[in-house]
C-alpha cells in the first residue's frame, strides 16, 4: 500500500469524482479524497476548482485532515482570494486553541496565504501569538512576520510588528531568538526603509552570543550571519566575540562552520593586525577549512570558492595544507577547476610537491583542467623565484609530449616567465621554435610572435619565422596582428639591414589593408616614428618593459575586502559584491565594510603619495612599474605607446593657477605634520587647525590673495572606493581670490587605470555649478592620487534641497558613472560685497520682525577679543558694521550676504574672559540660520 495509488485515475471525470468524495459524510473517505487532491497538486495538476469543497473540510478536529487542508490552502488561496476569506474564521479560532501545536500550525499557515485582503484579519491573531506563552508558537509567529512583510511591508511596519520582533531578540528561548534574527535579517535584506534595519548594540550581541550555543544548527547560521554585520566598538569586544564564536568551527554542519569563519575573518580585522591572538586564531581556522574539503562535492565547491578569498586575504592560513588541494581523478570537474586556483599559495617549501602534482595533472584527459594546470605551473615560476628553473624544465618536458593544447598553453606561460626573468632562460627558445607549426590558437601564436620579436637578435631565422606568419596576416585575429606588427618593427630595429622589405610590407598591410582602427593607428605611429626619428623609435619600441607580477587572478584589494564581508554567501561564490547581482536590494547600505586599517593605502596614506602629477617629460609608464601579467601583451603596447609621449600631458593645459593648487595635498600634510609636531597652542582638534594655518602659510609663501583665505574645512571622503569600483573621492570647498573652488582628491584603488573624468552637479539650493570642465591627469594609474580643483559658479539651476546645503554630484570615468552627495559649507556662499551701510543696517534690523530673530550661545574657545573675532570673520566675508560696549560687554553688529542675495544681520555679544558668546541672527530667510550659526562656530574655533 503506497501513496502511488492516489495517482491512478479511473475515469475521465476525476475532478467531479473527487468533489463527490470530498462532500461525503464519512470522515475516512473525506481524508482519502483530500490526500488524492494533494497528490495531484504536488505533480502540478490544477485542482483549484475543488477549492470550496476542500475548505469545507477544514472544520475538523482531525489534525491530519486539518494539515492536509492547510497544505491545499497555501497552494491555491492566491487564485481564489474570495474563497480564502472563508477560511479566515477558522484560523482566528485555531489561533486560540488550547493545543500549542494547533496554534502554531494556524499561525504558520496564515502567513503562507498570500492574499492581500486577508492580511488585515491576520494582524490580531499574529500579535497574540507573538506574545504566546509557548515558545514554539512564538518562534513560529516570528517567521510569520517575515512572511507578512513579504506580502505587505507597509502593514507590518504600521502595526509595529518589527518592534515586537526586536523584543523577541531578547527572548528566553534560544530558538525564538534564532528565528527572530532570521526574520529580521530577511526583512532588512528586502526592505530599504530604515525602520526595518536591524540595530545591534552590545546587549543584543550578548543575547545572540548566548543563544548561539543552544539553538539549532540553522539558527546558528542565522545568528552568525547577523553577528558578522556588527561592528565591534573596540579590540576587546571583537576579541571576545571571536572567542565565543570559535567553538562553532567544530560543528558538523558545513554552513555553520563557514559562517563562523566569516565572523572570525571579520573579527580579526577589528582586533588589529599582528597580535598573538590573530596568529592563534589563524591556526584554528585551518583544520575546519580542510574538513570542508573532504565533504560532499557541492560543499567542497562552495568551500573552495571561499578559501580562494580567504587565502588571498591571509595567505598564511593554509600554507601547510597544500596537499588537500590535490585533485582526485573522480572529483567532479567543477571541483577540479576550483582546486587549481588555490595554487598561488605555493611557497618555496612546498613547491617541489606542488610541481610534481601539477605535472601529473597535465597528462589528464580533461582539456580545460590540463590547461589550467599548465598555467598554474607558470604561475608558480613567476611567484617563487627559486623554483623558476624547475618550472621551466617541467614545462619543457610538457612541450616534448607534443600534445597540442599542452604545448600552446606552455608557450603562453613561458612568455610570461621570460618577462619576469629576462635574460635567463632564453636558451630554450630553439625548442619553442620547433613547435611553431602546431600553434593554432591566437593566444599561443601571439605569445610565440612576441618571443620571436623580443629575442630577434638571438634567433637566426627570425625574419623567416615572422615572414611565415605574415603570409596569412589578414586571417589572423587582431591580437596576433598587433603582436606581429610590433615584433616585426622590433626585428627591424635590431637588424635593420635585412628586414627593410619585411617591415614595409607589414606596415602597409596594417595601415592600408586593415579595417581595424587599433591596428591602423599603431601601424601609423610606428611608421612615422621610424621615418622621422629611428633613435626615438628604438627608445619607444625597445624600451625596458615593466616587470610583471604574479597576481593575475588576484582580486582588487577593495573588492577583496568587500567580499571578505560576504564569506559564506552567494557573493563569495560568484566573487562579485551582491550589489552586482542581487536585484534592487538595500544590501550595500546595510552591510558594513572592513575597518580602515586593514586596507592597504587607505585615506591616511593618501597625502603621502608624493606630488601625484607627473612631471611633463616623465612617461606614465614609470608609475605602473608593476602591471598584472594577464594582459602583458596589452601592457607592452601601453608602455610602447605611452612612452612616446606625443601629446602634451593634459595637466599642462590646466587653469590659471595650477601649481599651488595641485600642491595643496602635499602642503596639507606638511602643515598638519608640523603643527602636531610643534604641539601648537591650539587646543582644538589638530586637523582643522593645521589646515587653517596652512591656508594662511600657503598664502604667505605664494603671495596670493592674503585677504581672501577663508576657512577651509578638512577634506572628507565623499565617495568611498568600494562603492565606486575603486575610485575614491574626497574633497572640500574653498574660496581663493574671490573664486569658489571644489577641491577634490581622486584616488584610484582599482587595478586598472582610469580616465575620461567628468563631473556634473544636480540642481541645488544655491545654484552651484562647475564653471569649467574637470581636469584630471589622465590616465590615473592604479594607486595614484590626483588633487584637482574645480572652479564653481553660482548661477546654475536652483532647486531647494533637503537638507538645504545638500549637493548631489555625479562623477563619470571610463568605468562607470558614480553618484555621491556632500554638504556645502554655507560660508562658501558669503559674498565679498556683504558689507551693509550703517543706516541701512539699522533700518533693516528694525524692519525684520522680531520673530525672525534667533539667539544662540556659541563657543569662543580661544577667548578672542572683539578685534580678533571681527578680523577673522571679515576674512570669511562676515563684515562688522559697528561695535559698541554695553555694561562691559562688547557688541558687534555684523552683516553678510549670500550669493543668491539673502542678507543676514548679526549681533554678537562678547563677554570678556568668557568661553561663550551670544549670537543673534536676523534674516528674512530663516532656513539658513542654523547653517550660519554653524559657520560662525567653525570660523571662530578654527582660525
Amino acid at each position: 500500500m503506497t501513496d502511488s495509488k492516489y495517482f491512478t485515475t479511473t475515469k475521465k471525470g476525476e475532478i467531479f469524482e473527487l468533489k463527490g468524495e470530498l462532500n461525503s459524510d464519512k470522515k475516512e473517505k473525506k481524508k482519502e479524497a483530500v490526500k488524492k487532491v494533494i497528490a495531484s497538486m504536488t505533480v502540478g495538476k490544477d485542482v483549484s476548482a475543488l477549492f470550496p469543497d476542500v475548505v469545507n473540510c477544514m472544520q475538523t478536529d482531525n489534525l491530519e485532515l486539518k494539515k492536509l487542508v492547510y497544505l491545499y490552502l497555501m497552494n491555491y488561496a492566491k487564485s481564489q482570494p474570495d474563497m480564502a476569506i472563508m477560511a479566515v474564521n477558522t484560523f482566528v479560532k485555531d489561533c486560540e486553541d488550547t493545543n500549542p501545536l494547533i496554534r502554531a500550525l494556524a499561525v504558520r499557515t496564515m502567513g503562507c496565504i498570500r492574499v492581500d485582503k486577508i492580511t488585515e484579519y491576520l494582524c490580531e491573531p499574529l500579535r497574540k501569538c507573538l506574545k504566546d506563552e509557548d515558545p514554539y508558537v512564538r518562534k513560529t509567529a516570528a517567521v510569520c512576520v517575515a512572511k507578512l512583510h513579504d506580502i505587505n511591508a507597509q502593514l507590518v511596519e504600521d502595526q509595529g510588528f518589527l518592534d515586537q520582533l526586536r523584543e523577541l531578540l531578547s527572548d528566553s528561548n534560544p530558538m525564538v531568538v534564532a528565528n527572530a534574527v532570521a526574520a529580521l535579517s530577511e526583512i532588512s535584506d528586502t526592505s530599504p526603509s530604515p525602520a526595518a534595519q536591524m540595530e545591534m548594540n552590545q546587549q543584543t550581541i550578548n543575547k545572540l552570543l548566548a543563544a548561539l550555543n543552544e539553538c539549532t544548527e540553522w539558527g546558528q547560521i542565522f545568528i552568525l550571519d547577523a553577528l558578522s554585520n556588527y561592528v565591534p566598538k573596540d579590540d576587546r569586544e571583537a576579541q571576545s566575540i571571536c572567542e565565543r564564536v570559535t567553538p562553532r568551527l567544530a560543528h558538523s554542519n558545513a554552513g555553520v562552520v563557514l559562517s563562523a569563519v566569516k565572523v572570525l575573518m571579520k573579527g580579526m580585522e577589528y582586533v588589529g593586525m599582528e597580535t598573538e591572538f590573530v596568529t592563534t586564531l589563524q591556526k584554528k581556522l585551518a583544520p575546519p577549512l580542510v574538513t570542508l574539503l573532504s565533504s560532499e562535492p557541492e560543499v567542497q565547491y562552495v568551500a573552495l570558492r571561499n578559501i580562494n578569498l580567504i587565502v588571498q586575504k591571509r595567505p598564511d592560513i593554509l600554507k601547510h595544507e597544500m596537499k588537500v588541494f590535490f585533485v582526485k581523478y573522480n572529483d567532479p570537474i567543477y571541483v577540479k577547476l576550483e582546486n587549481w586556483t588555490s595554487y598561488p599559495s605555493a611557497t618555496q617549501e612546498n613547491i617541489a610537491q606542488v610541481l610534481a602534482e601539477l605535472k601529473e595533472y597535465a597528462t589528464e584527459v580533461d582539456v580545460d583542467f590540463v590547461r589550467k594546470s599548465v598555467r598554474a605551473i607558470g604561475r608558480c615560476a613567476i611567484k617563487v623565484e627559486q623554483a623558476a628553473e624547475r618550472c621551466v624544465s617541467t614545462l619543457l618536458d610538457l612541450i616534448q609530449t607534443k600534445v597540442n593544447y599542452v604545448v600552446q598553453e606552455a608557450i603562453v606561460v613561458i612568455k610570461d616567465i621570460f618577462r619576469k626573468y629576462p635574460n635567463k632562460y632564453e636558451s630554450i627558445i630553439s625548442t619553442l621554435c620547433e613547435n611553431l607549426e602546431s600553434l593554432d590558437e591566437p593566444d599561443a601564436r601571439a605569445s610565440m610572435i612576441w618571443i620571436v620579436g623580443e629575442y630577434a637578435e638571438r634567433i637566426d631565422n627570425a625574419d623567416e619565422l615572422l615572414e611565415s606568419f605574415l603570409e596569412g596576416f589578414h586571417d589572423e585575429s587582431t591580437q596576433v596582428q598587433l603582436q606581429l606588427l610590433t615584433a616585426i618593427v622590433k626585428l627591424f630595429l635590431k637588424k635593420p639591414t635585412e628586414t627593410q622589405e619585411l617591415v614595409q610590407q607589414v606596415l602597409s598591410l596594417a595601415t592600408q589593408d586593415s579595417d581595424n582602427p587599433d591596428l591602423r593607428d599603431r601601424g601609423y605611429i610606428y611608421w612615422r616614428l621610424l621615418s622621422t626619428d629611428p633613435a626615438a623609435a628604438k627608445e619607444v619600441v625597445l624600451a625596458e618593459k615593466p616587470l610583471i607580477s604574479s597576481e593575475t587572478d588576484r582580486l582588487e584589494p577593495t573588492l577583496l575586502d568587500e567580499l571578505i564581508c560576504y564569506i559564506a554567501s552567494l557573493a563569495s561564490v560568484y566573487h562579485k559584491p551582491p550589489s552586482a547581482f542581487v536585484e534592487g536590494q538595500a544590501l550595500v547600505v546595510r552591510r558594513t565594510q572592513l575597518p580602515v586599517r586593514s586596507a592597504s593605502g587607505e585615506p591616511g596614506a593618501t597625502g603621502a603619495t608624493e606630488s601625484p602629477v607627473p612631471q611633463q617629460a616623465q612617461p606614465v609608464q614609470q608609475q605602473q612599474s608593476v602591471i598584472p601579467s594577464h594582459d602583458t601583451a596589452m601592457g607592452d603596447l601601453l608602455g610602447d605607446l605611452l612612452s612616446m609621449d606625443l601629446n602634451p600631458q593634459p595637466q599642462q593645459q590646466m587653469s590659471m593657477t595650477p601649481a599651488p593648487q595641485q600642491d595643496m595635498g602635499g602642503m596639507d600634510l606638511l602643515g598638519g605634520g608640523l603643527d602636531s609636531l610643534l604641539g601648537g597652542p591650539s587646543p582644538v582638534a589638530g586637523m582643522p587647525a593645521s589646515q587653517a594655518s596652512m591656508g594662511g602659510g600657503l598664502g604667505d609663501i605664494l603671495g596670493l590673495g592674503i585677504s581672501s583665505t577663508t576657512y577651509v574645512p578638512p577634506k572628507q571622503v565623499w565617495l568611498p572606493a568600494p562603492k565606486a569600483k575603486g575610485l575614491e573621492v574626497s574633497g572640500t570647498f574653498s574660496i581663493r581670490q574671490n573664486v569658489r573652488y571644489m577641491d577634490l582628491t581622486l584616488k584610484n584603488n582599482a587595478m586598472a587605470p582610469m580616465g575620461d573624468f567628468a563631473i556634473q552637479f544636480n540642481k541645488n539650493s544655491f545654484g552651484l555649478s562647475p564653471a569649467s570642465a574637470l581636469q584630471v591627469p589622465s590616465p590615473l594609474s592604479p594607486g595614484q592620487t590626483a588633487d584637482v580643483t574645480l572652479p564653481l559658479g553660482t548661477n546654475g539651476p536652483v532647486q531647494k534641497m533637503d537638507p538645504l546645503m545638500n549637493l548631489q554630484v555625479a562623477m563619470k570615468n571610463n568605468i562607470d558613472v558614480f553618484y555621491f552627495s556632500c554638504l556645502i559649507p554655507i560660508h562658501l556662499l558669503f559674498t565679498e560685497d556683504g558689507q551693509m551701510d550703517r543706516k541701512v543696517f539699522l533700518a533693516t534690523w528694525k524692519d525684520i520682525p522680531d520673530s525672525n530673530e534667533v539667539q544662540k550661545e556659541i563657543a569662543n574657545p580661544n577667548q578672542l577679543d572683539p578685534k580678533g573675532i571681527s578680523d577673522k570673520l571679515q576674512q570669511s566675508f562676515i563684515f562688522t558694521i559697528a561695535q559698541r560696549n554695553v555694561d562691559g560687554r562688547d557688541m558687534l553688529y555684523q552683516s553678510l550676504k549670500l550669493t543668491n542675495g539673502i542678507w543676514v544681520l548679526a549681533e554678537l555679544k562678547i563677554q570678556p574672559r568668557s568661553p561663550t558668546m551670544t549670537l543673534s541672527l536676523k534674516t528674512r530667510a530663516l532656513d539658513v540660520i542654523p547653517q550660519v550659526q554653524q559657520a560662525y562656530e567653525l570660523i571662530i574655533a578654527n582660525m
Binding site: 500500500m1 503506497t2 501513496d3 502511488s4 470522515k27 494533494i38 497528490a39 504536488t42 502540478g44 489534525l63 491530519e64 494539515k67 497544505l71 492566491k78 493545543n99 501545536l101 502567513g111 503562507c112 498570500r114 517567521v143 512572511k147 530558538m175 526574520a183 539549532t216 544548527e217 540553522w218 547560521i221 542565522f222 550571519d225 567553538p247 567544530a250 560543528h251 558538523s252 554542519n253 558545513a254 554552513g255 563557514l258 583544520p287 575546519p288 580542510v290 574538513t291 573532504s294 557541492e298 565547491y301 562552495v302 601547510h320 595544507e321 588537500v324 590535490f326 582526485k328 581523478y329 573522480n330 567532479p332 570537474i333 567543477y334 559564506a568 552567494l570 542581487v582 536585484e583 544590501l587
Partner: protein, 416 residues
Amino acid sequence: MIHSLFMINSAGDIFMEKHWKSVISRSVCDYFFEEQQKANSPEDVNPVISTPHHYLIHIYRENIYFVAVCTTEVPPLFVIEFLHRVVDTFTDYFGDGGETAIKDNYVIVYELLEEMLDNGFPLATESNILKELIKPPNILRTVVNTVTGSSNLSDTLPTGQLSNVPWRRAGVKYTNNEAYFDVIEEIDAIIDKQGSTVFADIQGVIDCCVKLSGMPDLTLSFMNPRILDDVSFHPCVRFKRWESERVLSFVPPDGNFRLISYHVGSQNMVAIPVYVKPNISFREGGGRFDVTVGPKQTMGKLVESVVITCAMPKVVLNMNLTPTQGTYTFDPVAKVLTWDVGKINPQKLPNLRGNISLQSGSPPPESNPAISVQFKIQQMAVSGLKVNRLDMYGEKYKPFKGVKYLTKAGNFQVRT
C-alpha cells in the same frame, strides 16, 4: 532563504515540486537543464547556477537532482546542507531516497518538506522530532491505519522542540538498554607510481546506536584523544568539557546518529594498509596488464572485501586477463575494469595479469589509467584511535555497551 524545491530525475523530468513562498514557474529549471547539457557527466553540473532572477543551488544524490530556488542572497552552504538533510531524512524514512521511494510516498514527502521548512526557514530537521510529527510508513502501521482509521500524523506537540535537548524526545522506554559505538575510518589517499604516498588522510566518524531509557547522560573517553584535533560534533556534545578534559559528554539522541566526525590530517603519518603493484604498458595495438595487491601495516588484521577498479582509456577494446583469485569483469562500454579480489592472503598475493587489446588504428594512450582500491579491515581504526570507557549518569539501570572498529578505503587511488 529557500523559495522552492524541484526534484529532477535523470531523464530530466521534474517529478516533484514544492514551494514555500509564492509559486515559481517550472520554467526556471530550464537554466538548470542548459547547464546540465554542458556537463559531461551528471555529477559535473555546477552546484550554484545564477539566472537573471533566481539562484539555483542543487545537489545530486540517488540519481536525482534536488534543485533549490532562492531569490535573495543566502549562504549557499546552508542550502546545500539542508538539501542533504532532506535526502537523509527520506533515506531514513523510506529506506532509500530514490525516485521510486519518493513517488511511492508522495504525501509523506510533502508533509515532511512542509515540516522541515517554513517560509524558507528550517523548522524541524532532526529525524527524532520529525518521526514524532510524522510517523514513518511501515506495513504494519498501514494495515492498522486502514483498519482503525487512525493516521500517520501524531497530534502531540513534539516535546523535543521546546526543551534544551531538542534532539531527544522525552519518555523513552526500552526493555533492553543498549549503546553501540562504531568507529569507522576511511582512508583517502593518492599513491604514486613508485608506491610512495602523495597524499593521505583519514576521515573518521563515530556512529552510534543508542537505545537507552529516560534521559541518560553519557561520557565517552579515549585512550589517545590527541589524535582528534580536527573534529565536528553532533550538537549534543558539550564543547566545554571536550576543550578542558578531552572527553565526549552528551545526552544522546534516541536511536541512530553520528556523534562526531573527525579528520586526521596529512601532517600525521598515515599507515597505508595495502599496496598495489601495477605494471601497465601500452604499445601499438595492445598492451600488458599486471597488477598485484598485498597487505602492508595491517596490525595483523585481515584485509577484506578488496575490489580494484580501473577506468581504462577510451581506445581499449577489450582485456583478456587471468586472476589468481576472485573474479574480474571488463565493461567494454564504460571501459571500466573491476576485479573483485575478496580477502588478501598474505602468503599468496592476489595477482591479475593478461593482455589488453586496443582499437585497431588508434595510437596507444599517452598516460596510464589510475587504479582505485576498495577494502575493509575489521576491528582496526587505522588512526590508532581507541575508546577507553563509557560511563552513564542520570539513570539507574546498567546498559549493555559495545564498540566496533572498522577501517575502509575512501577515495584511495594508485597512479600507474
